[in-house]
Symmetry: D2
Subunit: 338 residues, 4 copies
Amino acid sequence: MLILMKSNASADQLGAVAARVAEIGLTAHPLQSASRTVVAVTGELNGHDPALFSSLPGVAKVMRLTVAFKLAAREVREEDTVVDVAGVKIGAGQKLAVMAGPCSFESPQQVLAIARAVKAAGATIMRGGLFKPRTSPFSFQGLGKDGFKLMDDVRRETGLKFVTEAMDEEGLELVEQHADMIQIGARNMQNFSLLRKAGKARKPVLLKRGMSATLEEWLTAADYVLSGGNTQVVLCERGIRTFATHTRNTLDLSAVPAVKELSHLPVIVDPSHGTGFRQYVAPMALAAVAAGADGIMVEVHNDPDKAKSDGGQSLYLEQFSELMQAIPAVAKAVNRAV
Amino acid sequence: MLILMKSNASADQLGAVAARVAEIGLTAHPLQSASRTVVAVTGELNGHDPALFSSLPGVAKVMRLTVAFKLAAREVREEDTVVDVAGVKIGAGQKLAVMAGPCSFESPQQVLAIARAVKAAGATIMRGGLFKPRTSPFSFQGLGKDGFKLMDDVRRETGLKFVTEAMDEEGLELVEQHADMIQIGARNMQNFSLLRKAGKARKPVLLKRGMSATLEEWLTAADYVLSGGNTQVVLCERGIRTFATHTRNTLDLSAVPAVKELSHLPVIVDPSHGTGFRQYVAPMALAAVAAGADGIMVEVHNDPDKAKSDGGQSLYLEQFSELMQAIPAVAKAVNRAV
Amino acid sequence: MLILMKSNASADQLGAVAARVAEIGLTAHPLQSASRTVVAVTGELNGHDPALFSSLPGVAKVMRLTVAFKLAAREVREEDTVVDVAGVKIGAGQKLAVMAGPCSFESPQQVLAIARAVKAAGATIMRGGLFKPRTSPFSFQGLGKDGFKLMDDVRRETGLKFVTEAMDEEGLELVEQHADMIQIGARNMQNFSLLRKAGKARKPVLLKRGMSATLEEWLTAADYVLSGGNTQVVLCERGIRTFATHTRNTLDLSAVPAVKELSHLPVIVDPSHGTGFRQYVAPMALAAVAAGADGIMVEVHNDPDKAKSDGGQSLYLEQFSELMQAIPAVAKAVNRAV
Amino acid sequence: MLILMKSNASADQLGAVAARVAEIGLTAHPLQSASRTVVAVTGELNGHDPALFSSLPGVAKVMRLTVAFKLAAREVREEDTVVDVAGVKIGAGQKLAVMAGPCSFESPQQVLAIARAVKAAGATIMRGGLFKPRTSPFSFQGLGKDGFKLMDDVRRETGLKFVTEAMDEEGLELVEQHADMIQIGARNMQNFSLLRKAGKARKPVLLKRGMSATLEEWLTAADYVLSGGNTQVVLCERGIRTFATHTRNTLDLSAVPAVKELSHLPVIVDPSHGTGFRQYVAPMALAAVAAGADGIMVEVHNDPDKAKSDGGQSLYLEQFSELMQAIPAVAKAVNRAV
């Protein structure tokens, strides 16, 4: 931590800062610059909030030198984490993980038709919401737990693994029990109670980036899961909220190399929510692969024009199949297999 | 809803759009413009997602004409809602509600010292977190339910009412039982399970705006609470996330007149989280009052330099007292009492 | 400047950083923390770019400790600057400056009608564009230099002073010659050639904040003007670009106290562009005054429904008059006169 | 254009809107919906500002149905434009354009060393600033017009073409005379005087996206150039300003497929400014190619640690060479040659 004093800070104010630093067991190193004093603080901050110092008289600014996340940090663990979703390995140069399926499960016919198609095209994990976080209480809220039976049937027939979102603690127990991977959605990325519960689960977690989350906040959210003992976390970039209106969100693909630098956790990309428009999904999926993502998550529907949610951003079955044919060459160009 | 066709859309594509509109019980009115056709759709959309149409062939863009929120809308209820927090009335030109207190409850001494001071300065509702939504699992997480006894003691002595945050369903039950108002924090603004639970509670709800929430998303989140039968919702603007770095968040005071136009619910402002720096809290609190807010929520601490959280944005007791002396003249200038 | 080394940086890498620091005449102070080394650098950076160091092997991050702006900084000049617009003083607790007028000058009748009304209501400076920075080349581009005669006529009759925008170097010469204050618009805030030219002008400058400018960039843009010898710069907050859609821009009123802390220059607020909707202008103008602004700039039109630009955000003459009646009480509450 | 009336709008208000529509030569089609009236307006808006109607009594909202840009629109010209930079063709499935070079020209040795290396690696156009738009007036401002001789020497030796930025009208004349392509920088994207001048130039223009520009604003800026008669415009995505801090800007690769849908102009990507950190440049360059970009612009330096500007985001010569070896496979995967 660094404490930048104001240029007109008094010696007394500097002394008080140093005293406060000592009081919490840290060491202060005052440095005289041309125009002002900087106090470098060494030692472990532990729970202490750097912002504390920003309110002391004479202090201009406080800068944390280390990141807030610990367990997710590359510095804690040099080698890449491999996450195992019922046998499908994600991360560390493993084959690209391809998760595909509808926004929501709607009916047995719909789920089965999509499952067969995405399986045939090469996906290994199926996505599909049972509990939907809808902006309005008057929108379709998902099939709920009735969908788990569908999941079991389709898994039996196709061998696909399943990832689905848990929106609350009760739902998380059900998802843990029935699905192969627990999704924490963007809106719940800082639902800390839910994250703690996911940290106790025995299934891997897919943690989507919050709409306005910095990488530090995202990785610190991962720390909530990791600190509970669940080491199996995959991060998913799904677009951030910006002023741009040509897409539903702005897909921040730079998060891929940046997360890989900062963390040992695998990172995949969701170009469907990341753009919001079907016609941009394939180019951005290919771009995600070229940027080094460990996988993609794509919305696919057998009849998107009649989908109960997210129809406009779902690929037709044939479009997904075409995308899957284009991916291997890009993956190979960056030394990945599919 | 309006469906804007592409300039090169075919008659067949237009026909298919009209057919799909009819299929869900709505009426299509095609309008020929200079360069393209626009289909105006009348009737009740109900659960149907306008995005559905954006994926039909030949469609350029779909625009919803009505807002997603219903129960929170001014159109549904013309007169302002008055929220009653154990006798303290908020909204509809009532006296300005002043909520003040520490970020977190830390100890009986701290709570009591602050309570006496804010009461003396004129606050009627005390704030203070027991369950803290901290970015990192390694930060101070609050006193938890032990804090409720403190609340009872201070209420007995001072008559202050209490608002405190609930982070999950279990916590919400406790807060409902012991506090006078249930706060839903910015990070949980779209925690729909929690909102539904708050809709069943018999205590008023303070719903903070999410960090990247549009007014429409915020008011639609309020719909979750209102649709459960709880009509007592106060909205709280607390800053949004932007590129600006001179403040922790960018306080969007225009939300005050805009919410009043769109909704019948009261709206207050939190200049502490809205700026993140103590020295900006008073000017922005006065600005909030001038903009027409129904109240303010301010962080105050008896020893902010040693606060366990948010010390840098908490006012000293004397500063809060000075602010409270400055407010009445501004309030009077916009026809409000304190 | 601080150079944060990676936790696994080698002694050689540290040595190379120190050598590079010495090479440009600065002093390196390596500090050993628990997990990594921080190099504090003292001395004058002058033209050197801190980013240079971020590319050296072993460096994790570089942080500048001082701000980029110099001449605009409060540290360089403690007392507030007073800007004199042909006798109208702005800043340092002087009377609130009220600038009002149409987006664009359209005709003698329009300009005169508005001039008389805003003068009667209490404005001292009239605004009005002759050279308009329109997003599209097919929109109305302003009267151009024919408008200066109008300006002279109205000045003679009413005594109002004039501020108008210069969009290029040629226009700036004309504006300098005919108007009382030169406006640099938001889109040109980093048009450095234009800023340099304004620095040579003998008229005061109104520098609007760019749509996505940090305070540091804004004040550093002011440095371009100040470094040319023109000390008469007034800053104008006019809203920033965010994800929010209920207003045209998000008016960042916290810029007012923050600029006053960082700089000695006066700062005013434009709630017309800052919101984009007539009904939000008055509440935000009052809020700006309460936040401590040195003045306001408001769009007013005698027939906004027929205005050639910005009609939707222009006040009717009577609305402006009402606003001017409401302002003194708010101003007085924060110890300002109008 | 669509005019959405308030739900409580009166018949008189509706009549006044219709009358105003007729007054400017357009036709109003009122449509009765369940809860409100929508007036669809047909005819050519020409210079009229849709915002005009938003201020009429009883109007809730005005929506433009057509985009503001005309000449840049795909609807005006179906086939892709090919831009010819002294023989190097860009767009319409032509070979990927690779522009590379230093942020600024610093010395003959530097320019020549970089030129030889990027030429050898496969670049066909060299970039390099002579007139630098620096945030601070105290930073290095570029070699100025002395650099043109350097450009001539290097062109003679290597055959490379040159693109360099013009910051003002005087500079534009020089750049037009000496370089092969005129760059309009992000900060000048809405410097309309400069754009008009570029529209009269006989050299192709590289128009960078403004830091907070929507695609509509960007393409409408292109209209300024196109409307002057210069049809040779290449667009360049270079990152937008968001809340994210792990990169200098957020590279919005979705702009590539979106621009291709909306416009006939070629679009390239600058991953150097788009990320700000050397280590993210190669992954994002590959991602840009996968997303369908018509080319890339990359900062390369022979000694980035000593560069006078942007050293931290410049590739070493060897890194650029490696990137150029990786690109063909990605390009081929999306049916492009290099």
